[in-house]
Subunit: 250 residues, 2 copies
């Protein structure tokens, strides 16, 4: 039997509100479609529903932009209140041009607008990234185990752009229960030569695999990877953060 | 029934040599493991076996490094003959530091060492990227159709690094039969607001999904995505190249 795994969309989740038990919504939706969660499933959960459940929402009417935000917003043609929220969520501006504001978030992720997003939330509100996406992932993992008895891995995912290549890809911003990287360091090819592609970002590939069934418009914020062989780990997402000293593009 | 697809490793391929019919090797290996290729499969094929079959191999003993290559190689502690090959495969050096040479290939891909790789080839040889990976993908697609009657999509994949995040991911450097990007431009969320994550790099997510069963040491250079819903297209990989004018990091 060849190595194989399946990617299953979890459909029919209701609109998520602050305080909702996202794990229960996921478990019940998976049961309703006859793909109940089982041991060693990997759950990929879109950041937006986690942020909503955790109340990581800001009403722009409640935001008073600083003079700096007003000035930067004029330069990129954006709402100064949005820019204010982005800067509050950032520890550094990485690049700015006529339309884009790329920052490093307090977690260390580099992305457009610090992950602050206006789509799929109520008008005049924005969603922030979860405060601690690794904790969000652990919470979902623990709650799913309590509800189903199944030990699963959980990835909190968001779609980020990257230099050089067009298009966004889904990547991991928080995780629990699996190793984010697979290192081949010190391993050799059949001819005995050291491998050159030494460290692979498995968690990001898992998030991308899930995105292919999730879609932006179909309200499918969760997918299950079933049958995937992965290494268990409690290290969270931090190994995916490139050390700024080793990053030529920061 | 929820949306779902399966990722299947194609195991048992022999060592590929220049002139080999890679498509036939893939078709036969898939049949041997009872996962014969069917209509609308997406085949993800690792760049290395394509390069080998196409004879894109260089023996370092046959390379005379230029003075520039000798000088640059000293700076990064590499073999001057390897640096010579990397520069021949490049149209621009994007960044250099003490250990890494990141260049833009003649195709326009930005990656370490222009994709020139010493692992999984004979000692003193290096493998180059295919000359035209889109053509390689089309050739495999046509040949698979001739052999099986099935119309498939094909992605030629390689593992590239990226700024800001640790670890490599598998991405598409050539493709045939599917649209590399999914654009949500002009579409709106349920509340009527324009979507912000507007263009997704599906082909890269497909390549990453495949990598999760491929592995570097197990001689599994091919995977099948089966059941994936995708848009057919003949545009190839070029839409994945970010326009340098729109790239803040080149």
């Amino acid at each position: 039997m060849p190595r194989r795994y399946e990617v299953i969309a979890v459909e029919g989740l209701p609109e998520v509100r602050p305080g909702d038990d996202v794990s229960r919504l996921i478990v019940e939706a998976a049961e309703r479609q006859d793909t109940a969660i089982v041991e060693r499933d990997v759950l990929v959960v879109g950041q937006k529903i986690v942020s909503k459940a955790e109340g990581r929402l800001v009403r722009l009417d409640d935001v008073t932009p600083s003079p700096v935000s007003v000035s930067l917003a004029a330069g990129i043609g954006r709402d100064p209140r949005l820019v204010e929220v982005v800067l509050r969520e950032s520890r550094r501006i990485v690049r700015m041009d006529k339309t884009v504001l790329i920052t490093e978030t307090h977690h260390g992720w580099v992305c457009a607008n610090a992950g602050v997003d206006q789509s799929n939330v109520d008008a005049d509100w924005v969603a922030l990234l979860p405060e601690d996406p690794d904790r969000s992932a652990r919470d979902i993992r623990d709650r799913v185990r309590a509800l189903t008895g199944a030990d699963v891995a959980v990835i909190i995912a968001d779609t980020f752009g990257r230099p050089w290549r067009e298009g966004l890809t889904n990547i991991a911003i928080g995780l629990a229960g699996l190793a984010p990287l697979r290192s081949y360091l010190g391993e050799r090819d059949p001819a005995g030569r050291p491998l050159q592609a030494t460290v692979l970002a498995l968690a990001d590939e898992v998030a991308g695999a899930a995105e292919l069934v999730m879609g932006k418009l179909d309200r499918i914020p969760v997918a299950i990877l079933r049958g995937l062989v992965f290494a268990a780990s409690e290290e969270g997402s931090k190994p995916l953060l490139r050390d700024p000293a080793r990053d030529l593009f920061r």
